[in-house]
């Protein structure tokens, strides 16, 4: 548990370092995620060492964004005066992404299996 936590924190630190080096183009946590993935693939880090902590963190992720969500308190006016935008835009654009990703992936898969049959 302690070892796993240390590894996760180490990769968050390394991620922040890389993020700083690339001028913040990618958030530090995302860099850390990619570095951890690479380290696991290259067997630099043993998967069993991080498994427990990683599972615990990802399973309870929803809890971690409650505090920042409470921050809407401070943004109440902005949201209530743009309520339609906050409902329509996420729903419409999400539907669009579902269509694009689903249809494109299925098309690409069909094309590649057709290609293999020929």
């Amino acid at each position: 548990m302690i070892k796993g936590s240390a590894i996760i924190l180490l990769f968050l630190f390394l991620g922040n370092l890389v993020s700083w080096m690339v001028g913040g183009f990618l958030p530090g946590s995302v860099c850390g995620m990619l570095l951890l993935f690479a380290a696991l693939k290259l067997r630099v880090v043993c998967a069993d060492d991080v498994k427990g902590v990683a599972k615990a963190l990802t399973a309870n992720m929803a809890l971690f964004f409650v505090p920042i969500g409470v921050g809407v308190m401070a943004e109440y006016n902005l949201i209530s005066s743009n309520l339609a935008v906050f409902i329509i835009v996420p729903i419409a654009t999400t539907a669009l992404v579902v269509v694009v990703v689903g249809a494109m992936q299925q098309y690409l898969e069909q094309r590649s299996t057709d290609g293999n049959n020929n």
Partner: protein, 230 residues
């Protein structure tokens, strides 16, 4: 009394208690609008108002929970590793579908927000709405948006998306399990993944994987799209 109510311990209990309550209500009702985070946020806000606790006090008290967002994003790297076997032989396809999805998602938010004539701060906060909350928060803040607004947009996306996405996939005739999982995970993040897991094991694994991929794709394309549109 006031010092006890304003203590970090009380605030931590409030957040964790609100979350447990939200989870209880959600698992008992299975009603998608009763999202655990949404309930937790509502409960905490009501309690803060009721007990007259300042937002700044709350922010300091809940810092340790807020801090956990970073490590939890790093931990997605492990999930990505665990599910990377599904990728075999399909890496290029999956990466291009997710990338196009990210570009379409960001572009459509920018255009629709323009259409509604809303402030840039809203657009910036809404752009990463298909990405998992901790990544969305840091992306929104990087662009000049507000983390709290971003997290609310992510939740609205999650609640509405987990209801409509399976219907849309059926409507447009998507049958491939990988395509279904990819669409659910990349458009509707964690809540879409939960839905995908109900549909099937492959769908669930691919959806889990695409949460991470969409996070990376959105991080990469957001600055590029911003350079084009602003």
């Amino acid at each position: 009394m006031a010092t006890i109510i304003n203590s970090h311990i009380f605030i931590l209990l409030l957040v964790i208690g609100g979350y447990l309550l939200g989870r209880l209500i959600f698992t008992k009702s299975r009603f998608p609008l009763f999202n655990p985070v949404l309930i937790a946020i509502a409960v905490v806000i009501c309690m803060l108002k009721l007990l007259d606790i300042e937002y700044e006090t709350f922010k300091q008290g809940s810092y340790i929970i807020d801090f956990m967002l970073g490590p939890s994003v790093v931990a997605i790297g492990y999930v990505l590793y665990e599910q990377s076997a599904v990728l075999k032989g399909k890496v290029a396809m999956i990466l291009s579908s997710v990338s196009v999805g990210a570009v379409v998602g960001i572009g459509s938010v920018i255009l629709l927000c323009r259409l509604f004539g809303c402030d840039d701060i809203i657009t910036y906060s809404m752009q990463p709405k298909s990405v998992t909350t901790p990544i969305a928060i840091s992306l929104a803040e990087r662009s000049g948006g507000v983390g709290a607004i971003a997290s609310i947009c992510v939740i609205i996306t999650g609640v509405s998306g987990s209801i409509i996405a399976p219907l849309i996939l059926k409507l447009i005739g998507v049958k491939s399990p990988i395509a279904k999982g990819l669409a659910l995970g990349s458009a509707v993040h964690g809540m879409g993944t939960a839905k995908a897991m109900e549909i099937g094991a492959i769908e669930g694994a691919v959806a889990g994987l695409s949460i991470g991929l969409m996070g990376v794709a959105t991080s990469l394309f957001m600055p590029i799209m911003e350079a084009i549109f602003y």
